[in-house]
């Protein structure tokens, strides 16, 4: 077991959507849960997000979308990750996501969708219980 192992999370906002508060709350909340959170800020293209996720070698990618364009943007990000053989990254989605779109998003490869009002603890518990994704990833231990 390697005690230095840190879970790295990228929080990003794809597309033309200026509602940043939710993403910031999640970013700060996950930091307080002991994760290393990289925040890219607003208006990122799917290519930029995939690029950042690869360079930062994150375990988790959290997308926050409140613009209504979640289906198209999420697909582009997931396809981009797939093209780089990075589909082992856990993909989470948050924001204003209509109930009826959730099956399609999960079908696409989103691991979980957390809509408004989700406690941070639910997100961090989900992350801890779903990592590591592949056997070669090392075991993850709880924060000190």
């Amino acid at each position: 077991m390697n005690e230095n192992r840190k879970i790295r999370v990228l929080i990003s906002k794809p597309g033309l959507d200026g509602h940043e508060r939710g993403a910031m709350v999640v970013a700060y909340g996950l930091r307080d849960e002991g994760f290393e959170v990289i925040y890219t800020g607003l208006r990122q293209t799917p290519e930029q997000i995939v690029n950042a996720a690869i360079q930062e070698d994150v375990d988790v990618l959290g997308l926050s979308i409140l613009s209504g364009a979640h289906l198209g943007l999420t697909r582009k990000v997931i396809d981009g990750l797939g093209a780089q053989q990075a589909d082992d990254i856990l993909v989470l989605l948050g924001g204003i996501i209509p109930e009826e779109d959730i099956p399609a998003l999960k079908e696409m490869g989103v691991d979980e969708i957390f809509t408004a009002g989700t406690p941070i603890k639910d997100i961090s518990d989900f992350i801890r219980s779903h990592l590591p994704r592949s056997p070669e990833q090392e075991p993850v231990i709880e924060k000190p």
Binding site: N2, N4, R5, K6, R8, A27, Y28, L30, R31, D32, E33, G34, F35, E36, V37, I38, Y39, T40, G41, Q44, E47, Q48, N51, A52, I54, Q55, E56, D57, Q84, Q85, A86, E136, E138, K143, P144
Partner: protein, 323 residues
């Protein structure tokens, strides 16, 4: 070496970004195989020029890094950037936000940006950063920029991993120079007065000059002072020209490098010895026993340390020779 690790390193040297990112994670986490990875990489290092950027919080280090990187990239240099932010000492987590200020260069996928958390004092930022520099170097980056956290001990450490250190100051903070005076003034190869579009930049230049007048430079050239503004773009082209000139003239082995090597070997040695001692002591329960002794005032911590070390023949031998 494990096969996956050696394959990963080969892929990294061929320019595979994912392999590069994974190698950094392996080494940063000190996961099994990290040392073998660094041993395999070392031979391919030494050609990159490393620029350190430090200064007080809010001095505009990230934005400046963005501008510098953009210009170096336009001139055809391949770049690696390490952006360091602090870890929370309470949760161990970190919010790494330097990418926020590096929007222009985030568009360029051939600039490799890696955010690093300090991971507490025991994490040894300095060694981890030094290792990441080497990995980027071996991956073929011409120039590596390291942006440090704001004020603190880490700022001085940057000098040990960089060939050239820029210290960023800003006007309007009367105490700006006071705050960075101790230690950090001596490590600068170049002073940058950023946010020069704000009033008071010339006063800061005068302050720095005044301070440099009082320093003995011991044969080291007096660091120049440059004014920049990421708002009006004043001074940025000139700054980058300076950096390129430095990168071209840089000499491989200097006295400074010799000191860096000494310091690195000693610090790696220190860590290994520490781990060895800790492992040995935790194995036999003597450490816990000693804690109890000190806690109940039956022993003092100073003699406890000597006593604990006494179980190592090498230490006993040294003590005997001393007598």
């Amino acid at each position: 070496m494990q096969r996956e690790v050696s394959e990963m390193i080969d892929a990294m040297k061929r320019g595979d970004t994912r392999a590069l990112a994974r190698t950094i994670t392996l080494v940063e986490n000190r996961s099994p195989g990290w040392k073998e990875a660094m041993q395999a990489i070392y031979g391919d290092t030494g050609s990159a020029c490393v620029f350190g950027i430090t200064g007080s919080p809010g001095a505009g280090k990230s934005t400046l890094t963005n501008e510098i990187a953009l210009r170096l990239h336009d001139q055809g240099y391949s770049l690696g950037i390490i952006a360091v932010d602090p870890s929370s000492p309470f949760s161990g987590g970190a919010l790494l936000g330097d990418r926020l200020r590096m929007r222009n260069i985030c568009m360029k996928t051939d600039i490799f940006i890696r955010s690093m958390a300090t991971r507490g004092v025991l994490g040894g930022l300095c060694q981890a950063a030094r290792d990441v520099v080497r990995i980027l170097d071996a991956a073929g980056k011409d120039i590596i920029l390291i942006e440090t956290v704001g004020a603190g001990q880490d700022e001085i450490d940057v000098v040990r991993v960089s060939n050239f250190v820029m210290v960023v100051c800003i006007p309007g903070q009367g105490d700006g120079i006071q705050a960075i005076k101790a230690g950090i003034m001596e490590i600068a190869d170049l002073f940058i007065v950023n946010k020069a579009d704000l009033g008071g930049a010339d006063e800061i230049v005068a302050d720095i000059n005044g301070m440099l007048d009082l320093c003995t430079h011991n044969g080291i050239p007096r660091p120049p002072i440059m004014k920049t503004s990421t708002e009006t773009k004043e001074g940025l082209d000139a700054l980058v020209e300076n950096l390129i000139a430095y990168a071209r003239e840089r000499k491989a082995a200097t006295e400074v490098n010799r000191n860096h090597v000494k310091e690195e070997i000693l610090s790696l040695l220190e860590r290994e010895v520490f781990h060895f001692v800790r492992e040995e002591l935790s194995g036999n329960g003597r450490f816990e026993e000693a804690v109890e002794q000190v806690l109940s005032h039956r022993a003092d911590p100073y003699s406890t340390v000597e006593e604990l070390l006494g179980s190592f023949p090498l230490y006993r031998g040294m003590k005997t020779r001393e007598k």
